[in-house]
Symmetry: C2
Subunit: 217 residues, 2 copies
């Protein structure tokens, strides 16, 4: 099994990391500091296959890297992790370019929506890395357990490299996703990131965070 690096110690990173260790993967969680307390708690809770370090440590460790940092901070985290360190690897980007500057609910960062996206911005920062955008359209508990939204929901993939998308798909399947649509290259990150607003609107009115989107066809 491929070694996994995770960038980000929040609820998304720890949920993804815990599921991956439960599946038998070795996972290193990276943060700004090598001894981050949230990462230390996660390591303690997830046994010997869970370790921690800096962003650069996690990037060096993983063959596949998950970007689980907050979208507005992701470009900086990616730069700290290091383009050279991430070269030749797969980076699975599950973050969204949320803009909380106008209050709640958030919108998207204007410069990273509609005609651009966070997925593309990260790919531009990492020309020698294969960025795959996926999972960003659901709550993190649904990300790792597709059945939690009560049905055979659809998950999307976008990225420039087919074999990298196949690697990501293997993990998606272990997370319970069966209906997976490969949208094409990384520009299709725009499409899935823009689903954030309907996700927010729908979860607010249904008072249910565990929703999923099914493409009927």
């Amino acid at each position: 099994m491929k070694k996994i690096g995770i960038l980000g110690t929040g609820i998304v990173g720890s949920t993804i990391g815990s599921k991956l260790t439960a599946l038998g993967y070795e996972v290193k969680m990276g943060s700004r500091t090598a001894n981050n307390t949230k990462a230390a708690e996660w390591v303690k809770a997830n046994g010997k296959s869970a370790t921690q370090g800096t962003f650069a440590d996690a990037a060096a460790y993983g063959e596949i890297i998950f970007n689980c940092t907050k979208g507005a901070y992701s470009p900086e985290a990616i730069k700290i992790a290091g383009a050279a360190t991430l070269a030749g690897k797969i980076l699975i980007d599950i973050s969204n370019p949320l803009d909380f500057s106008k209050g709640m609910p958030p919108t998207l960062i204007p410069a990273l929506s509609n005609t651009h996206s966070l997925g593309e911005a990260i790919q531009q920062l990492l020309p020698q890395t294969s960025v795959v955008k996926t999972l960003n359209i659901v709550n993190c508990e649904v990300m790792v357990d597709a059945a939690k939204c009560g049905g055979d929901a659809t998950m999307f993939l976008a990225g420039n490299d087919s074999s990298s998308k196949k690697e990501a798909e293997l993990i998606l399947k272990q997370f319970g996703w069966k209906d997976i649509i490969d949208l094409g290259n990384i520009t299709h990150s725009r499409s899935t990131e823009m689903m954030l607003l309907i996700w927010l609107s729908t979860t607010m009115v249904t008072k249910n965070r565990y929703i999923g989107f099914k493409i009927l066809r």
Copy 2:
């Protein structure tokens, strides 16, 4: 049955208009000119309950008005129809703020996405009209026949007035929509209009325009 006015003589307007006349509604299709040839063809094909006129004629005729003009042109069409003429009525806005200026596939008009929307812009132009945003997330053939996307897809409503949304819902049900989610006020137009990109991405890769979105919950 309430009289219907339709703004726009394109494929969307004629599809909506034909379905409504088939359901027994009296429908007047409006365009820039009173004797538009596409509207005349539509009138000829749809019997005595189908008539045509200017935008202002259709606005005056209908108790419920469907905006089926192209999104970029909608504000102008609405102004021609006339805010005073539309006062006290329900305007069902099914258009999207498509921007074709950067080529294909289209994006959204930046000033009308993310932090604003076409639905809101139309409501601002028509302070005495109740604007209801709906149907804009599917192909027009699916709009009037929900079963065409092969399942019990979800349709959204957004608008400031509950009784107007109930009127719109009555029509949605006659179009075959069963799973209808009222998202709240007109600002939620942003959410459904931003689904345009995932609609485009998905229809391109599945080569199927008759898709629908189901919210699993």
